[in-house]
Amino acid sequence: MNELRAGLADIFEVEPSAITSETALTDLGWDSLAMVSTIALFDELFGKPINIDKLKNCETVADLESMAEEA
């Protein structure tokens, strides 16, 4: 999970400490470009495709983390 947070920090260009489970994605600048970067991150970390509809419904970092657990 640390890798996921580190990757998200890279994507959103914030300090890793700014990424917690409760962090709202909209506060980080969650848009279609960030989503594509997140798909690449999941591919890199887990080598599996992710469900785009689910990804779109993610609101917090915790939501992404639970998708990562499924991956």
Partner: protein, 351 residues
């Protein structure tokens, strides 16, 4: 045809494929000439004397050529008990596709439950479509690229008819067909194909594509008329397909990945290409990117790379082992591995 002598026409003789079965599908609704009298009166009899058309089948508003071809194909494949996985190529030949893009053949691949190894594409021809489709399919089989080709040929011209134009409204009917071409040694076919585009304006639907009178038909921004892209889904598709496309192409070429000098990826998106190159462990200097200067030019990205960034590597006596990889709308993908160069011409010009 104007002044072209018959012996100027392209002739080819091919062998190795036979027509194994044909099914045609017409819409349920038949429109007889009686139904047209209200609109055209006495002209119906007059026109009929000339055209001979007494009745025609007309598609419902929500029924397209693809629907008719799909029913024809399902019937054909079921009657012949054809294993769907044995079909190698699907060609949809029509002037009335479902959308401007993607190619209708791609949608029909999925509808008909055919394998994803299928090569599927459209050809935009009307009256001459069938001989062209047979020629293409026969060539593919004769050349060893395919054993079994499904030709889906048809039109729903009723959708582009002006109901008040007596020259066309009483003439056309709708139909979709399916033809199966099978490899068979010794089967022969002779083709004559020709073109004279100077007559293009005499049988034409002027708008609906991209050359138009912008005074009368301004470009529109209606979302149904403009390109929609679900970027995340497309990226997911690329991640799923492109790495194995690269592997299969390299393996199929009998070469090692290090033997390739250039990997020309369709310039979809720089981030995506870099990710794919990293994933496939390709040296970045072998993966040229010119999307920064030209954007994603769709079907043109790979030849544009050849004419620009790869020019020095492919001209003045130089050549390179090249892998070309196209993927996207359809979804459809294709790869080609070949030695390219020295090219006689590689040049970028401005219109």
């Amino acid at each position: 045809m104007t002044e072209t002598a018959a012996n100027d026409m392209g002739l080819s003789r091919l062998s190795g494929a036979r027509i194994a079965g044909v099914v045609a599908c017409v819409p349920e609704r038949a429109v007889g000439n009686d139904d047209l009298i209200a609109r055209f009166g006495d002209q119906v009899a007059q026109v009929t004397r000339m055209t001979g058309v007494q009745s025609r089948h007309i598609a419902r508003q929500d029924e397209t050529t693809a629907d008719l071809c799909s029913i024809a194909a399902t019937t054909l494949l079921d009657r012949m008990a054809v294993d769907r996985a044995s079909i190698d190529v699907v060609i949809f030949a029509s002037q009335t596709p479902d959308h401007r893009l993607p190619a209708t053949a791609c949608l029909l691949q999925a509808r008909l439950g055919l394998g994803t190894h299928v090569a599927a594409f459209d050809i935009n021809l009307g009256c001459s479509a069938y001989p062209y489709a047979l020629w293409l399919g026969t060539m593919m089989i004769a050349g060893g690229s395919a054993r079994r080709v499904l030709l889906l040929v048809g039109d729903t011209i009723s959708k582009i008819i002006n109901p008040d134009d007596r020259a066309t409204a009483m003439l056309f009917g709708d139909c979709g067909t399916a033809t199966l071409l099978d490899a068979e040694e010794g089967a022969q076919a002779t083709f004559v194909l020709g073109t004279d585009g100077s007559g293009g304006r005499n049988l034409i639907v002027p708008t609906g594509a991209f050359r138009r009178d912008f005074q009368r038909h301004p470009a529109n921004t209606n979302p149904d008329d403009t390109l929609f892209m679900e970027g995340g889904e497309i990226f997911n598709f690329t991640l799923a397909i492109v790495p194995s496309l690269v592997d299969r192409l390299v393996q199929g070429s009998g070469l090692a990945i290090e033997d390739f000098d250039l990997f020309l990826f369709h310039q979809a998106n720089a981030f995506m290409i870099k990710h794919l190159a990293k994933k496939a462990k390709l040296a970045l200097e072998k993966v040229p990117l010119n999307i920064d200067r030209f954007g994603n030019t769709s079907s043109a990205t790979i030849p544009l790379l050849l004419a620009t960034d790869c020019r020095d590597a492919l001209t003045n006596g130089r050549s390179a082992m090249v892998a070309m990889l196209g993927f996207g709308v359809g979804y459809s993908w294709g790869g080609c591995a070949t030695r390219v160069g020295p090219l006689d011409v590689a040049e970028l010009v401005t219109a």
